[in-house]
């Protein structure tokens, strides 16, 4: 699966750096490196709904650096785990 985080001006100012760092750490901690491809992206045109994050082309709203961990466990972890065990 592919997770894209926006690093455009607006999202950068909201803290994309921390979100990317958090995601990278959690992917490593859960040994999901082979299943989650983390990408940066420029403006996705969804600047008003928090830091723009796409999980397999589906947007996730209201992401911030405060709730990055819970977003990961809610939206990314289940899908990645399913892929991992399905293999």
């Amino acid at each position: 699966m592919v997770v894209s985080v926006c690093v455009g001006s607006s999202c950068h100012m909201k803290g994309s750096y921390q979100v990317i760092k958090t995601f990278q750490e959690l992917i490593k901690k859960n040994q999901l490196e082979d299943f989650v491809e983390l990408k940066a992206s420029f403006c996705m045109g969804r600047c008003l709904t928090g830091i723009s994050v796409m999980v397999d082309d589906k947007p996730v709203d209201n992401v911030g650096f405060v709730n990055a961990e819970s977003v990961f466990y809610e939206h990314i972890f289940p899908l990645a785990e399913a892929q991992k065990s399905g293999q």
């Binding site: 926006c6 690093v7 455009g8 001006s9 607006s10 909201k14 940066a40 403006c43 600047c47």
Partner: protein, 390 residues
Amino acid sequence: MELYIDAVYESLHKYGEELCGDKVEFVRADDYFLAVLADGLGSGVKANILSTLTSKIIATMFASGAQLEETLETIASTLPVCSERGLAYSTFTIIKVGRDGKVYTAEFDNPDLLYFHRNQLTPIPRETVEIGGKTIHVSHFEAESSDMIITFSDGVVHAGVGRLLDLGWQYDNIVNYVVENLEPNMSPRVITKKLLAAVNTLYMQKCGDDSTVCALALKPSRPATVMVGPPVNGEMDKIVVDKLMYSRGLKVVCGGTTSQIVSRVTGRELKVQIDYENPAVPPIATLPGVDLVTEGVLTLGKALDIIKGINDAGADSLESYTLSKKDGASRITKLLLEDATEVRFLVGRALNPAHQNPGMPVSLGLKLNLIKELAAELERTGKKVTVEYF
């Protein structure tokens, strides 16, 4: 080959004087570069007025196509006459370098200029012309890329008079000093700095006369084109992107949305790097055929800060700055300052929806001002900058 002229001058004031009696005027036109060094009679305010008038009149009249005779007549009838000496007098050296390498020089009472051709001191053919009782040495020759022209005022020749040296530094010794110290591809700033440092030492930090050095280096022209911001009218996208992609030299895209437009129009894939070199600067991206892709306002804001810092620190620090960092702002600064000889901005004025929210304190006006300021700072470093709006 089109040439770019990298020109630098610096002056040391006579000890105790507020103003410098030497004055250098640069004119950067589309097809030539003009430098005028004038040294006014006496020192202080009087000399400053004489040399400022002289250099400004010559530069302005030459730039509008006047001949040497008319220019000198104008100066002779304009300069105020010194009450002590009953003279109106300022020396001058005029150097005009075409972008094709054709050089015209006219020298009046300043020390002879030095011409380095392929790193060798080369004599230039000087003709003597009498105009209004003044003997002027005129020269025409063809220069090449990496050639250098150095000129200085007589304060340099007299360096050390009455202090370390009875007769001063003297012309031949200066020539030897330059020959020994000039290395291939040395920047004009460095040789200017070296010469003046030696002058300052000979005068024991208390200059007996205003001393000025002006150095011109000929380089191959290498323009950079920077596209920043999406055009107001979406139909212009392709036109602006074509202007960028078909431009000669370095190509830069600033802005997330802008780089997506370039990617769409060219059909090439935009890859944003996920590794942050510096958490404060958004990461850069890659796009085939473009030399550098960065985020927009934040990166340019940081780049402006860096360039401003370098400009304000003056010549002392210019040698030592190293822009080896890999974040977007440092990269674009290095590209604009060191790699490019002239810069053309293609500025799109569309309102960016990304900036229309309370969390993003950037207005369109702020962005346009940022580019204006950046252009002004780049001009201060001696680059030719053009800005086009879409």
